[in-house]
Symmetry: C2
Amino acid sequence: MKRDLSVKEASDWIQGATPRLAAETVNLFDGLGQILAEGVVSPRDLPPSDCSAMDGFAVRASNLAGADSEQPVGLPVVFEVAAGGSAARPLADGESARIFTGAPVPAGADAVVRQEDTRSEGDTVWFSAPVVDGEHVRDAGEDMRAGEEVLSAGTRLGAAEIGVLASLGRSMVSVHRRPRVAILSGGDELVEVDGDVTGDRIVSSNSYSLVARCRELGAEPIYLGISKDDPQSVESQFRAALGADCIVSSAGVSVGDHDHVRPVLQKLGCELEFWGVKMKPGYPFAFGRFTAGGVVFGLPGNPVSAFVTFEEFVRPSLLKMMGAEQCFMPTLRARLGEPLTKKAGRLHFVRVRLVRDGQEWIATTTGNQSSGVMRSLVEADGLMIFPLEEEALQEGASVEVQVLRGHWFEGRQPPP
Amino acid sequence: MKRDLSVKEASDWIQGATPRLAAETVNLFDGLGQILAEGVVSPRDLPPSDCSAMDGFAVRASNLAGADSEQPVGLPVVFEVAAGGSAARPLADGESARIFTGAPVPAGADAVVRQEDTRSEGDTVWFSAPVVDGEHVRDAGEDMRAGEEVLSAGTRLGAAEIGVLASLGRSMVSVHRRPRVAILSGGDELVEVDGDVTGDRIVSSNSYSLVARCRELGAEPIYLGISKDDPQSVESQFRAALGADCIVSSAGVSVGDHDHVRPVLQKLGCELEFWGVKMKPGYPFAFGRFTAGGVVFGLPGNPVSAFVTFEEFVRPSLLKMMGAEQCFMPTLRARLGEPLTKKAGRLHFVRVRLVRDGQEWIATTTGNQSSGVMRSLVEADGLMIFPLEEEALQEGASVEVQVLRGHWFEGRQPPP
């Protein structure tokens, strides 16, 4: 077992050991948030033919060449084309057709004038301005061409992608399946959320946030409860987790005398590959692999350490299983709002708030950085990277910040 | 009915007309993504007493004052305190106790030395360095104090917040209920995803992306299918939608002859309050309210226009219903990668890709900005705001970009 890896060494090791999961075929809506395991090719042109982008009148642009408000041009409206319909015949020189958004532009017409820009009088429509050839006409195949790959394997299915797949008539889609994540915790001091917390017992809150985080990411959490600090209890819990794609055990894989996890893992065919990452919070982190497949993450018990090691190591591994190509935390550049110091030898992930100041982001710490202070996570917008060998950062230094949440910079104001 | 509002006027109008929905009490896990309708107060101190942050030995710091590697200090280990346990008696001067992470620090001790920094020999433990008073001790109430509000009303429940609620023993929680959103589309050219698309028929793809987007936001979509272009079909579809908190109709509320929506809405007790927003894409957007409650959004039929007006107007309204305090799109500042021109009089939302270049973001357009080109949405990271009265933006201009997705800037690299 290796000891004391850098964050990058640990990340690379884990990503190298993580398999992409097999593909499954799911219903379009069920695939939301999952990642395409196939490239998707358009079976036809979209739009299928030249069509109108507006409600208005189809014309030949040349017929309106001299039109202005003094001398409007009047054309007879000879037929109408509805969306989903088709033109009765080609449009002849000097004619116009009523046309609706999405309707095919009749042969012989080359432009559409918006209804708002015309005036109707019986069967005649009056135009008071010329129109450019092609105006308000969407060309056949403008959006997608038959035979063209429009979504590549590795694309995450969000709302826009679901819309594209629907437009191609794809109601079933091949995606990497969601990882099943067994979540375990252990410790005689821990109780469930409905348990008795008199004395020094505390709720196993890590389990709850880990279950929630898996759901947010689109993985399938299986919560296996709290084991006691004895080998039988730990073993039966891990046995229940066998077959999961990933086991996340909070607390338990430490150097403490009360650690019964390592021998149990060995007995069950799991080799611990490394222990200890040069980071804070989160140093006592362990990673292992079952010979039968499946990876094991041993997270520290402190809530903040558990959360940070999950984000740094478990999340990228789950995203890779799900088929993602970019698995690491999003980052941005910020200016540090206060001076910070630490000892060299560990990379610190400093919980910070981010506030926009014109073109820049200002990062300020959430205060007490103790790894027990769970509230600091609620207040944090990001994790500032205080590099391994650095000992001091000045106020105003340019720092890299991992962004914790998609919604952290929700706006207060609409656009002007 | 008002006409031709600016984006800000339309946004303010809609937000003013949107109610926050009532609270409901849900199970902790079910509340993920919902927004607290109550402030949550801690019923006790957390941690409940001074406790150890490490596996190691509890000591009096004064006993190790002179310790170094040449002259280590040895102390007898007189008892052990496990997490969830308690000390048999106070620690006396010159004694130490074995202690585990989370265990209460015995009276008489004031610091914890990590196991890795000690050497054990029978019942004696040797320390080769002094320790600071309070080292590795978490003070009672350090995380949360009894009676203190730890989460305020309006907080969105993510994984960290779920962990905090669990730690307080809260398995049920009061949140604003999820809005029920009826999604309607209409047009004789539209078919469902499994329908026959020969000729100029197309799939009602807007419906699918709107359903997906509602799910992503935590709202409850109710998809009511496609109505025909006749008053009876439109009316029966809207009747099915009555009682929803929000109706989103894609296409249908336009100036076209085939528009049967406005009279139907009036008949059902809905007043259209405004039509037309000075923006592109998305000009033919309508908003109305039922006298019985419930808001109606009439989106343009073009996929891009529908998507953009949903993001600009429907999303903030749904977030307000759900209890959010910041409802608008997140924005960042970017440098424009190419020159752009337009006519004054409409605000343009330009689909752009965002690429980080050191400290800056570079925004480049996704190409064809036709409102029919759905693929441009798949490729877009954000919507660049090209202000109402501006006619030209130079390459290199500083521009405001609304960020479309939480995951758009997923990282390729782990931290160093």
